[in-house]
């Protein structure tokens, strides 16, 4: 299979249109099963009671906020290095969904923190670096749309995305590098102390958010492609 075939906006437009409903459907199914595990199968936490169930959206949203940023930076790097139009368009398409999950991680963290820590917010290293991530997403979106020529916007935003990459290890290792209010990683490559039903629910929701992100990015990139290619014959013939 020639993968470069799909690097053309016109062919990727059709591929994205075919794929996105499947990703949304998968996200809906995984969400339903994940919520069933989260609210029915997973037991009540011995220390936190029912409020720990925020974990089923908080942790997957936080994972996605960082993962989407990494993918967005990778597309930005590809667009700068190879001058690919589609890479820049994909980076633009991912940014709002990344910002959404960063907001969800911060918001749900606040509503989990209040009953367990006694506060909605603290200027703790993990929370502050996650807030910086939200501002990086906002900066990327603003910069990408600040130029009359979209290609100049692409390049400026791509540079910001690459500079902002330095924040990802800070977010991840903040709980190890500093003495933070936020707890350390519960799920590690070496294992976890979580109950299997809690872990299953959390992983199902993480996959649901992942599939949703792909579906949303593919849907958004189709609109971006259409806007940019509207003078092309193939776009006008749709």
């Amino acid at each position: 299979m020639n993968w470069f075939y799909f690097s053309s906006p016109s062919t990727f437009y059709r591929l994205a249109g075919w794929l996105s409903p499947w990703f949304f459907a998968l996200a809906a199914i995984l969400t339903a099963v994940g919520l069933y595990y989260g609210f029915v199968v997973a037991p009540t936490d011995a220390q936190q009671g029912e409020v720990y169930r925020v974990i089923f959206i908080h942790v997957p949203a936080a994972w996605m906020s960082m993962f989407i940023y990494f993918v967005m930076a990778a597309y930005s790097a590809a667009s700068l290095t190879f001058n690919t139009r589609l890479g820049a368009m994909m980076a633009r398409a991912l940014a709002p969904t990344g910002a959404l999950f960063t907001f969800v991680a911060l918001w749900t963290g606040a509503f989990w923190g209040r009953p367990t820590w006694g506060t909605y917010w603290a200027w703790d290293a993990r929370m502050t670096s996650e807030l910086v991530l939200l501002f990086l997403y906002f900066g990327f979106i603003a910069l990408a749309n600040a130029f009359e020529d979209p290609r100049r916007g692409d390049r400026a935003a791509a540079l910001l995305a690459l500079i902002g990459l330095v924040n990802l290890p800070i977010i991840y290792f903040s709980v190890h590098w500093w003495n933070t209010l936020h707890q350390g990683s519960t799920v590690k490559l070496t294992g976890t102390s979580m109950h299997v039903a809690m872990l299953t629910g959390m992983l199902l929701m993480a996959f649901a958010f992942w599939m949703y992100s792909i579906g949303a990015a593919l849907t958004r990139v189709r609109s971006i492609i259409l806007e940019r290619e509207r003078r092309a014959r193939w776009a006008r013939s749709l």
């Binding site: 907001f103 509503f111 776009a235 006008r236």
Partner: protein, 46 residues
Amino acid sequence: MNHGFYLWMSYGATAIAIAIEIATLAAGRARARRLIEEERDLEAQD
């Protein structure tokens, strides 16, 4: 205040945020289609 408030605020806000994103995706699609229509009209005038 029981824990239900914190759960509802978390899950409710997430659902609203996702609903807003889906609405903006639909709006973006409609805008792109409108631009294509305008291009077609311009072409027809030429």
